[in-house]
């Protein structure tokens, strides 16, 4: 008997790929986008030492970096409905708790999780932009938000890009944990097939290969982006 049934593996690619990958990408992209916003806001709170907010940011970052993602998923997946029901009971709001798709909870928990990591990389990237350029902006009459938008953020993004890329690749792999909230992403699909056919080994290997492929593609995209972003550092 063969260890692996190759034909079976080929046959289950379409289901895992077509149904699982879009969900994984959706969780990854949406959470990364909100994570970037959270990260930027936190970084600014900390850099400008905004009272109260910068302390809250510190606690938030520490919690989400200091607890397992799996635990965060479980807490949010089971906790938010309880809170929503309590809100419904107290304020008479008619939120349809059981109607909220599981993936919406995933957007929230993954955004918060990834935001905590992006806070630190964004903060150090912003601080890497020489302060003299900020001062030059001021003497031209630019406002602080304009300097942020035109001078600091574009350069900070370049600095942070490798870090962001790696964080995104990590995030995409971590979306595999969403199966514990019954979200049918890549691993979720593999589990469904495995449960139906008992072909566990084959199903999970296909899932692994799909993650691997995605990561290879992402790494290439990242390399191109980095090259483009760093064009001002090239000596003519």
């Amino acid at each position: 008997m063969d260890i692996l049934d190759l034909q079976f593996m080929i046959d289950c690619v379409p289901q895992i790929f077509i149904q699982g990958v879009p969900i994984a990408l959706k969780i990854g992209l949406v959470s990364f986008f909100f994570g970037l916003l959270i990260g930027l806001v936190n970084a600014l709170f900390k850099i400008y030492k905004v009272p109260v907010m910068s302390q809250l940011a510190t606690v938030y970052i520490s919690f989400f970096r200091g607890t397992p993602l799996m635990v965060q998923i479980l807490i949010f997946y089971y906790g938010i409905p309880i809170i929503l029901r309590a809100v419904n009971a107290k304020y008479g709001t008619g939120i349809d708790v059981s109607g909220v798709p599981a993936i919406d909870y995933m957007y929230i928990v993954y955004s918060l999780n990834i935001g905590s990591y992006l806070s630190e990389s964004t903060r150090s990237a912003i601080l890497s932009v020489p302060h003299g350029q900020v001062e030059a902006g001021y003497t031209l009459g630019m406002s602080t938000p304009k300097i942020l938008r035109r001078i600091i953020i574009p350069q900070a993004l370049t600095v942070a890009l490798p870090n962001y890329g790696n964080t995104f690749i990590g995030l995409l792999k971590d979306t595999s944990l969403a199966f514990i909230a019954s979200v049918p992403e890549i691993i979720g699909q593999a589990k469904i097939i495995a449960g139906r056919t008992s072909m566990f080994f084959e199903s999970y290997i296909v899932a692994a290969l799909i993650y691997w492929l995605l990561c290879i593609i992402l790494e290439q995209v990242l390399r191109i982006l980095e090259k483009r972003a760093r064009r001002h550092e090239r000596r003519a």
Partner: protein
């Protein structure tokens, strides 16, 4: 009425008082050269004028507006920055923008000039500082002298009424000092009001209307260049001038001599080439 009139300017970093009551009055079109030992507060002084540093006390009349320097309002800051520009020791060009984009930035973003018109203005000023053929270079691909000339173009393009220069040639390799001083001299000839912190004595002799010698956070001596540079009244000024003339290996700008090694192409003329204000 003078264009700028600063009275009793004080500034502290924490408990360390760095400016201990500085007075200075600057006429329109005047070139003021500020000298003094390292740490005497020259940079801090310039940076208090456009609120890059927060002064604790003082009053400044700037282009007819009276400003309480112990309590700047947002509109004071806007007022001064709109009509002043600064050139820094480390150029501080925006690293992610080409020379041209650096000059255009303030025109488009602050003065709200349309991009194609801003481009023309930027090209005009880059041409003026001899940088036109390098206008699409990023700062990292430019020499220090080229970066500083682009930074001067960026300052001038904003059409300021006064330009502050904080040791604009101090970070440059000696052979690049001359090209920057020549551009600054041209700016002086065109009548710009300038406050320049520099140790380039020959440049001071050539363009200064007033030389200020600072030490320990106060103005020790102030007067026309031939008084402060050639006939200083205070011992501290004499000592300082002796020291920098030794450092630079030059006499203090004798006639006909090309200043070496610090200002290669900057030759001292028999007579001042820049008319006195």
């Amino acid at each position: 009425m003078p264009f700028m009139d600063i009275k009793g300017l004080r500034m502290s970093y924490g408990s360390n008082e760095v400016l201990k009551g500085v007075d200075l009055s600057v006429e329109k079109g005047q070139r003021v050269i500020i000298m003094g030992p390292s740490g005497s507060g020259k940079s801090t002084f310039l940076r208090c004028l456009n609120h890059l540093e927060k002064s604790s006390h003082g009053e400044m009349v700037f282009d007819g507006r009276t400003i309480n320097m112990g309590k700047w309002t947002k509109s004071d800051i806007r007022f001064v920055r709109a009509d002043s520009a600064m050139v820094f020791q480390n150029y501080n060009l925006f690293a992610h923008r080409t020379a041209l984009e650096n000059v255009m930035e303030g025109l488009v973003q602050v003065k709200k000039i349309k991009a194609d018109e801003a481009r023309k203005t930027a090209e005009y000023y880059l041409d003026k500082v001899g940088m036109l053929e390098r206008n699409d270079y990023y700062p990292s691909a430019l020499s220090g002298g080229q970066q500083q000339r682009a930074a001067i173009a960026r300052a001038l393009a904003m059409n300021p009424k006064v330009v502050f220069f904080d040791e604009p040639t101090s970070a440059l390799d000696p052979e690049l000092v001359g090209e920057v001083l020549n551009v600054m001299k041209q700016v002086a000839e065109e009548g710009m009001t300038m406050l320049v912190v520099t140790h380039e004595v020959s440049f001071a002799r050539d363009v200064a209307d007033v030389v200020v010698f600072m030490d320990g956070g106060v103005v020790v001596e102030i007067g026309p260049p031939e008084q402060v540079l050639d006939n200083p009244q205070h011992e501290r000024t004499q000592k300082f001038l002796n020291m920098i003339s030794q450092d630079h290996g030059i006499g203090l700008g004798e006639e006909g001599k090309t200043v070496q090694p610090n200002a290669q192409s900057y030759t001292i003329k028999a007579k001042r080439t820049v008319p006195r204000k």
